[in-house]
């Protein structure tokens, strides 16, 4: 019984990799580390999701996409998606595949470390140069900042690091 349960969960996770961030189609919600738990009871699936940024307008879209995607599976009759705040989502939950997907989209993955003064550094996602400047802490979406690479002269975005520290 226990084994069946985990197999079903695995299958759901595999399927959920098809659900992308609506604004970054190279990264799935699984790779973003948004999934906190999955419960499968017979034909009902219940998922707990961690919102990345609280005011993010993509959240209801993600919820709808999860429901539609899982309902495509023959053995799923109902899907429930709940947003939970515990534990708080942090940018270190993004997987290696997620970090690669961000770069493919032209977004530098969130840096893993903060400097002592709370600032941080990323490399250019195009030419890997470290010779970059921060143009705006805030960007086109809540989770991104705008930077400029002085080596390859491209503007680019970086995913903001968020940490509980």
């Amino acid at each position: 019984m226990v084994k069946q349960f985990s197999e079903a969960t695995e299958r759901m996770i595999e399927k959920l990799k098809e659900v992308k961030d609506p604004e970054i189609d190279t990264v799935s919600i699984v790779d973003l580390g948004m999934i906190q738990s999955i419960r499968v009871v017979e034909k009902s699936v219940s998922i707990e999701l961690l919102p990345t940024f609280l005011g993010c307008p993509a959240l209801p879209i993600i919820k709808k996409n999860i429901e539609q995607t899982l309902l495509h599976l023959d053995d799923v009759r109902s899907v429930e998606v709940l947003f939970v705040h515990s534990p708080p989502w942090t940018s270190d939950r993004i997987s290696k595949a997620g970090r690669e997907g961000l770069k493919k989209f032209g977004i530098a993955p969130p840096p893993r470390y903060f400097q002592d003064d709370g600032s941080w550094q990323v490399d250019c996602p195009f030419c890997q140069s470290t010779y970059v400047t921060l143009e705006n802490l805030f960007g086109p979406t809540a989770c991104r900042s705008i930077l400029y690479c002085k080596s390859c002269k491209n503007p680019f975005e970086a995913m903001k690091p968020v940490s509980t520290i």
Binding site: F53, L54, G55, H85, N136, F138, A142, I146, T164
Partner: protein
């Protein structure tokens, strides 16, 4: 503590949640009115993003209230008259003369000072909520603080740059400080239910949060060559008790216009 709450504790918790939600809600609204009017395009992106985050925070506090049996978040945000709102009066004040529909003459110095003062106050409260007896608030506070880190960095940068720019800029900033501090009296108050709120260990007393606020503020003032003399304040009108200004009515009429026509409208 949610399962073992007495009626009084529950009422105190709801009171606090509405104060927090109402503060962020009206703050986000006034911030959003700046859209397209900020000093330059990068600032437009930044302050719009901050308003969006803050609206997200308001929704979360309203949803926590909803879980305790209050009407749904959308109704809490749109349908309550001014006398039922608990926000600080500082946050409801108009951005300046005129309206974004006509010829606005908004005051950027006022916006920077108000936003910084609110962000410091909010930070102090969120840090206190990390140890709140109501556990759902602990996680929410951590989440808010992560985002607030960037808001604080942003408004601090503007505040310090403008204060240290030209003589004219300094004068404008000093005048903005006067206008902001005149309305700051209720910001760190909890109103009539303070005793119950503090007794239930939901958040630290207003005395404690005021001390922490001053410590945070002093550290910033040392960078702009100012002492605390300009930053004193006293309580005259208490938004926590529903005592508001006409500016709040104006804001509610605008932001709830669609809701009043059709409460079920899909955006």
């Amino acid at each position: 503590m949610s399962e073992h709450m007495t009626t009084n504790q529950r009422a105190a918790l709801i009171e606090l949640l509405l104060q927090l939600g109402d503060d962020d809600f009206i703050y986000a609204f006034r911030g959003a009115e700046w859209l397209g009017l900020a000093p330059h395009i990068e600032e437009d992106v930044a302050s719009a993003s901050i308003s969006q985050n803050s609206m997200g925070h308001a929704v979360m506090f309203y949803e926590l209230a909803e879980e305790l049996g209050l009407p749904e978040a959308n109704e809490l945000a749109h349908a309550r008259p001014a006398a039922e709102r608990r926000n600080s009066i500082l946050l409801e004040r108009v951005n300046g003369e005129g309206s974004y529909m006509g010829t606005p003459t908004y005051d950027w110095a006022y916006a920077v000072v108000r936003n910084l003062m609110y962000t410091i106050a909010k930070k102090v409260k969120m840090e206190s909520l990390r140890t709140s007896s109501y556990e759902p608030l602990n996680d929410v506070a951590i989440k808010v603080l992560m985002e607030l880190h960037y808001h604080l960095m942003h408004w601090k940068a503007w505040f310090i740059e403008l204060f240290n720019a030209t003589d004219e800029a300094r004068l404008k900033m000093e005048s903005a400080v006067g206008a902001v501090m005149a309305d700051f009296g209720d910001m760190l108050e909890y109103g009539e239910k303070e005793e119950e709120i503090v007794a239930a260990k939901l958040i630290h007393s207003s005395k404690t949060v005021k001390e922490r606020f001053l410590m945070e503020l002093e550290a910033i003032l040392s960078k702009v060559n100012q002492d605390m003399s300009l930053f004193t304040y006293s309580l005259k009108q208490n938004g926590r008790n529903g005592e508001h200004t006409a500016d709040l009515n104006q804001a509610l009429a605008t932001l709830a216009e669609v809701y009043q026509v059709d409460p079920a409208a899909n955006w």
